[in-house]
Symmetry: C2
DNA sequence: GACCTTGATTTGAACGATCAAATCGGTACA
DNA sequence: TGTACCGATTTGATCGTTCAAATCAAGGTC
């Protein structure tokens, strides 16, 4: 029976098993150091008392918070960032297996500033950070690097090509697979609805479309670009519509853009899929809800790899020689469907 | 200058200001105990060294993790739960002002089990939990209560009316306001698209529709119900369409349902807003994206109140005599618009 | 029988903070 | 002059764990 207080400590277990605290500790961290007979007795005591080491005590002793910070400014309303929320979910689930947990935090302002990071780091609430969506001129990578703070990034860190602690989705492979999918289903041309050139992610995805068309021999269809916004997407889609005949398909840089095109097709009385094929990108809830064919980001895998990177960094292992590019997976929905090639 | 190591501790500050560690501690926690002159000197040292107390050390000493657990199973893909993700965002932002942080976690399975909670609690990674979406037969509230674990709930805890540690949105007030909004704009009847009766949240929202119609004198329009799913919503909306004339409006139990109706209207060539009014509920990104008029849940306020509840519980203050009902706010979008009453 | 070795276990110390009790230098009062 | 008292500050102890060094028991060697 645990002592009067409700909290079971290593001391309670030691007393129960008639050994010293250190032996109990060894049972959990260096089982080989302890005699099999004793091991068993201590393990029994641990089980009976339901002992689990206190994370605060371990943190203090090991100088490790066992936590990783993730900025969630982008998670709030009006952000339209449908990737970060599920990504945080994946991280939280996977973190358990890595013996750590996530601490979401935000800076007051809209723009990602180092202020929030600074606050978390100074108190050592976290051992490392995960950043995402870095852009040109993003102050975070440089600041983290300068201060020797471990971090990993979801998405390439474009400002610093020497930094290899990132995991990213091979956007070109994704759009290329989307084109292949359309070709296979018999669409005659494959157009592209993307973002204005200049964004690295956008250019990457567009490149996959170009390469995909060249590789499969399908004719490139019309192209338009717009911002990551449903209204803009619809406007851009309207511009495309005139050039889209039956059995044409369009690959989009994101699910939001795909949804915009989807809506315009319906508004024009043209059935998505059976008439004009539409493929989105991201595998967002939005796409699933509307049954759009989409290129799904393997968020669980990404989370796992990122946590591996941090494990390595925290145990002083060398950084990998290069970042990791993961392949997205095409998820077939109703917005693309087989058509007879004979028409 | 900080000592050779990179970590600034209370000892470094003490040395720098030529006082003892305890005096430094007092400066931060009991400033009145220290002579003004000394206070200033120590504060200067703190500022110069950029000292912040170590959270692990404080946790161990105070027996408080300073963290709150939030289950995020519902946050993963395919959950269609558009409220939890932004809510977690609000919590994370507000938590900073409450001197704590959020720890999102998940259980392997789909259904909320106590297993995940157990794991977090045993190691004292968190001091309390925030639960949401409790349903009849939910094992969590009872289990938490039994084990004396502090928690608060977003949404009433229906199985235990004596539990008052909850904050909820006044759904009836929301739908009622939605009806009033429609009446004000001149819609002749206001229908309802809701969930099958039996869900407490759903019944609450429906009651507000009924009361709103009675209160404003607007005629109740047709009614239908379906699950929280876009396809189901569209099917239900099709059933409603026949009974919906121009200048009729429909209040919906959620943004997803509203979106379903929105889509069916467009598919039938009837303009949402100008012909048939549509009001959603939740204030989700989906609604904002589609410019739907919607009843917005005040997530920041809810987060604040919930954290207050936990602060009280952790400092041993008595529970409030009743749960808190917060008023949602109607956000006007394009899916409702003024019409001339003269027609 | 004294001495060394090996393996298993225990004791001491430390991580960084804060509470409680002890100390210190002054003042006031008898 | 002694002492009681005060505010300001310091010292000691503690939270629960784990590393490093000390101890202990058993066996082997010369």
């Amino acid at each position: 029976m645990p002592r009067s207080s409700d909290r079971v400590t290593i001391h309670d277990v030691a007393q129960r098993a008639a050994v010293s605290r250190q032996t109990v500790s060894n049972v959990l961290t260096h089982p080989t150091r302890v005699r099999p007979e004793t091991l068993e007795r201590v393990q029994a005591a641990i089980a009976e008392l339901g002992y689990q080491p206190s994370s605060s005590a371990q943190s203090l002793r090991s100088q490790r918070a066992g936590a990783v910070g993730v900025e969630i400014n982008t998670l709030g309303p009006r952000s339209h960032n449908e990737t970060m929320a599920p990504f945080l979910g994946s991280l939280a689930m996977r973190a358990a297996e890595h013996g750590s947990h996530m601490v979401p935090f935000g800076s007051p302002g809209d723009r990602p500033m180092v202020q929030g990071y600074q606050a978390m780091w100074a108190r050592r609430l976290v051992d490392a950070f995960i950043i995402a969506d870095t852009h040109h001129g993003d102050p975070r990578p440089a600041w983290l690097e300068e201060n020797g703070i471990p971090f990993a990034s979801f998405g390439r860190v474009w400002d610093d090509p020497t930094f290899t602690g990132w995991v990213d989705v091979d956007g070109a492979a994704g759009t290329s697979a989307a084109v292949a999918h359309c070709a296979e289903l018999g669409y005659r041309t494959v157009g592209y609805l993307g973002w204005p050139s200049g964004s690295v992610v956008g250019d990457d995805r567009r490149a996959g479309w170009v390469a995909g068309c060249a590789g499969t021999g399908v004719a490139p269809g019309p192209e338009a670009s717009c911002d990551q916004d449903l209204d803009d997407a619809r406007a851009a889609a309207r511009r495309l519509l005139a050039d889209l005949g039956p059995s044409d398909a369009v690959v989009c840089a994101s699910d939001i853009l795909a949804l915009g095109l989807h809506h315009e097709l319906l508004a024009a009385g043209r059935e998505p899929g059976s008439e004009v094929g539409v493929v989105g990108f991201d595998g967002s809830d939005t796409a699933l809800m509307h049954h759009l064919t989409t290129v799904v980001q393997p968020l669980d895998q990404i989370a796992d790899r990122i946590l591996d990177l941090l494990d390595d960094a925290l145990s002083g292992r060398a950084r990998p020689s290069a970042g990791a590019l993961l392949h997205p997976v095409l998820l077939r929905g109703d917005s693309t469907s087989a058509r007879s090639r004979s028409r």
